[in-house]
Symmetry: C2
């Protein structure tokens, strides 16, 4: 394992750092744009870069189905295939297997499932298979295969889960091939049981990884529970490795998680919202379909430097009303731009030692609450 | 009227020129990208510019329906509304009224129709209304309202059409407000009757316009008929004004029309094809859905400099198979890039006095025929 992480500055538990990969560096706290099928939906990679995005996420589940790991490998890996030259993290496929597939059977050896994408052929995914596919994708950061439980769940189920996740994490690490600038992350589970979360963190730290993800959150629990689980886990993770909160979240989720020591995030929220007429702004979200924008000459957010914000809300409204593809393109780019502006502001605030103040001010503007 | 046109060079009947507008110049022969609803579908205006596009076309029919001429005027015109800073030509709305509307009634005063877009409200469009809306759009080149006949048609119908088109052209010109860098074009009709085409050209020349369009072609006739009609019309048009063949066409249509003295073109072909998996190449078109591209590492066209051609056919195939918006985006840009490369090569060939040779070579490559 040889993924270098510099912890540059801390401010309370908030951390400002940098991860070095074979495909360049990225600054933390980082938001990874989700590029499910070797594309950030509705954006060219140039448009993604322009948002300030430094690292993207690929979904192993989708890519193993279409176009397949063998093909991506033959095409020279995911960077070359999709034209993203920067760092790429891939998930293990486990989360999508459980959320998108049919006939899921968990076994000690791996997970059995069928998928509608390839017409229902039976697949079996072991931790070693997931790592192998992520090697084929040439992913800079490989995630171990885990099992993500829905909440609420029983303690018995969660206990079993934590132990199997640890065994799978060890098998994943064993299957991982060391290369300069590439690494593998373990994933802490344990549902909403603090002692199990702690146990999982310790088990994974003992195995030893390039970074540690917190999985199994943002799956139905309250924000308070999520924050509590993060605060439970982070003290048991090494300070010299990045921490990644999977699948999170809203701007306020991110601020709360950074405050509790998280370094990396991914979420479909900004990109998916861009395809459903939702725009993020410093004053909350807006639905651009709303008729009140019909003749609104102001930009979505006058503090934003993205191409959409050189145009008017009226134009965005017009594009949405006409179902124009450009509406999804510009809104997606705007939302990702907004998220990356937020991450940059968070990093600056930590550098300046005023993260708490920045967070308070952001929330005040965003929610309109004092 | 004050739209300046420089005729720089001729090669046989082919012409190399430049049109000067209040929003910059464009070189002819020119291909105008079709921006129906204040957007070139699936492209940002930056992506359009990158293709080499210098002038775009807006559809008055769509814009008068959504968002309406009043709104675009309030927003500062089409350039500002959609973010295209270069020259814009708008059609009169007449062609779409007849092809897309219901209950069309042609009267001497104008055309009556209903549209599904606004739920079937009855509209009446007179030549003066069309010019007024094009003023609201701040279009650099206004087109007169005409009536476009489907082919074949009777001589009697075509005769009536030619005379009414001339009266409407006069009314359009009378309604046009002179401004520096803005102009109005007449439209020659006459179906496939050479003497009527000649008559129409003479009637319009007598009224006097900044440029002359040839309308009512590419509506079902053979390419040979189209070429014959162009060759019939152009000798009767002034040499010091640009000629515009409306709604045309394939690369081979364009080459044949340039050879007969046409300067400007517009067509949905490259952009529409981009949304239906069709790619233009120097060796003809390809359907990127075709399974033979699944593992094809080569670019769509190795002579093309567009972003899609920095990636593989395999990637384009993957995007199309997954219904990814990026597939439409990249293919649309590629196709427009291909068309603009063709226009640039045509202009260079005319400058070098070897247009005939260039045309022969292009056709040989494109069709595979000697």
């Amino acid at each position: 394992m040889s993924l270098k992480f510099d912890l540059i500055k801390t401010d309370g538990n908030a951390r400002r750092g940098r991860v070095h990969t074979a495909h360049g560096d990225f600054d933390t706290p980082a938001f990874m744009a989700v590029g499910t099928a070797a594309t950030i939906k509705a954006l060219t990679m140039d448009m993604v870069r322009d948002t300030g995005t430094q690292v993207i996420l690929g979904n192993t589940y989708h890519l193993m189905m279409r176009p397949g790991g063998d093909l991506v490998e033959k095409m020279g890996g995911l960077h070359k295939f999709g034209g993203w030259t920067g760092p790429i993290l891939t998930d293990s496929g486990g989360f999508q297997v459980m959320s998108l597939s049919n006939l899921v059977k968990m076994k000690e050896d791996g997970v059995e499932f069928t998928s509608h994408i390839d017409g229902g052929i039976k697949h079996f995914l072991r931790p070693e298979d997931s790592v192998h596919i992520q090697h084929q994708l040439d992913s800079n950061i490989t995630m171990v295969l885990d099992e993500c439980l829905h909440l609420p769940t029983t303690r018995e189920r969660a206990e079993k889960n934590v132990d199997m996740v640890a065994r799978w994490a060890q098998r994943s690490k064993d299957a991982f091939i060391d290369r300069d600038g590439y690494g593998i992350f373990g994933i802490v589970q344990g549902a909403d049981y603090p002692d199990l979360r702690e146990k999982s963190a310790k088990q994974l730290t003992e195995i030893g990884f390039d970074g540690y993800a917190i999985g199994g959150l943002a799956v139905g629990e309250t924000q308070e529970t999520m924050f509590n689980m993060i605060a439970t886990v982070t003290p048991h993770l090494p300070t010299d490795k990045p921490r990644y909160l999977m699948g999170v979240g809203t701007p306020l989720d991110i601020l709360g998680a950074v405050e509790r020591g998280v370094d990396m995030f991914d979420c479909v929220m900004p990109t998916r919202a861009g395809r459903t007429a939702q725009a993020f702004t410093r004053h909350g979200t807006m639905n651009m379909k709303n008729a009140r924008f019909r003749d609104d000459e102001s930009p979505i957010d006058d503090k934003c430097g993205c191409p959409a914000c050189k145009l008017s809300r009226a134009y965005m409204h017009h594009l949405i009303k006409c179902n124009e593809i450009l509406g999804a393109m510009l809104l997606t780019q705007h939302n990702l731009w907004f998220y990356q502006d937020l991450m940059r502001d968070i990093r600056t605030a930590i550098e300046n030692g005023n993260f708490a103040e920045f967070k308070r001010e952001f929330i005040r503007n965003y929610t309109g609450e004092e």
